[in-house]
Symmetry: D2
Subunit: 130 residues, 4 copies
């Protein structure tokens, strides 16, 4: 099952002198997508955060296919592809007009913040993700 | 007395599609300048931060004179112009090749973080700023 | 007449170590608000951009009232308060749950990009703004 | 041969609510490192840019080992590991106090900007990189 966000707009502040979205910003778009994915599952990320728990990237393998530009409307997708006790892996894309802009495989670890100590994923979330 | 930072470089990620530094980024340059100003005074900001104390903008009046572009080298200046018990006002500029790019008058309040409760400025800093 | 955007969400990437939205990011929120204000008037900013025309800040006087935090939903308002031949002034706010977070008075100049040469505002826009 | 930048400082604006540098910002640090690597080789990136040529990421595989925090001083390294006619691959790291924070393998394509049309690498640069 692939989760898809509602559309977001590219504003000027996310572009660079090359006339496209700066490549670092897609990691931010992916993060927004994951937060909405969790909210959709019934697990708002902010609730974990209030308990000092975060899901932080350990590894990101990102492919840039086609750049977004000023005023483009894009959606972000999230697909869970692997679930472990203290981490999980998602595939994510950014798409605009059915066209694939960027894709990534992202491994996230569950940590205690702000110390960044590895943690087991919260049980309720583990159950739901299964 | 006007404090001046060592030079910083403009990298691509700070520019936008208009070919210049995005106007929001000068607030970041000013923040870096204030942090170096405090370090130069013998009061590294990070030490206040470890005590849960921050100096946060209450009001910024910023004038854009001439845009910075990719690869420009700029310096940031800081001049204290008013000192109160729980806040202070600085004049700051961003300059490149003796040319004024941006200037601002910035009022900063001393707060307890993360609650953002107003605080008296730490005594040692007050004395030094006087 | 005051224009108001649909709600935006604060994601982690816009926060800082103090636990709130970094103060520079409100300038980005204001920019998004102005772009939606123009779209609502029937003048998508991207159309001006394709003609090499931009509206860039000359002066921003910004007041920080109450910080936004992770996951807050905010709206941006735009109110035209002065219209000249080559520039205009807006009042803008960021609000969350009816509470005022940040307010600003922003003067924007019409320029030819990427040279940043001052320009008369396009006639059709001038007429509409009147 | 591994190129290493002079140190950069982490300022507040690069941190997030988790108390560390936001994971997207390392892509910006890597970009700065590549630009200084090219300058050191005698090929300032800005000169290519003025000719409408850019080197843009096609694929980034990034591993997060240990987060940077406010006020940390870090260096960025760049090592060329593969050179083709229209692209090249570098290994990059961000390090602080001899400790590895982030590492990445990054493939960059030479493109004509702003169209993003693939290009052969400029001959003089090809020769120098060999």
């Amino acid at each position: 099952m692939i989760f898809k966000t509602t559309p977001y707009r590219v504003y000027v502040y996310d572009t660079d002198v090359a006339g496209v979205v700066h490549h670092s910003n897609y990691l931010r778009y992916f993060e927004a997508g994951r937060i909405e994915f969790l909210r959709d599952l019934g697990f708002p990320y902010i609730d974990f955060q209030h308990d000092g728990i975060g899901f932080v990237p350990v590894n990101i393998d990102i492919h840039y296919h086609y750049p977004l530009r000023e005023d483009d409307e894009y959606v972000v997708t999230v697909e869970l592809i692997e679930l472990k006790k203290a981490s999980f892996i998602v595939k994510q894309t950014v798409q605009c007009n059915q066209k694939l802009n960027v894709s990534a495989t992202i491994q996230l670890a569950c940590v205690k913040e702000p110390e960044f100590k590895p943690q087991r994923l919260p049980d309720a979330l583990l159950t739901q993700l299964r």
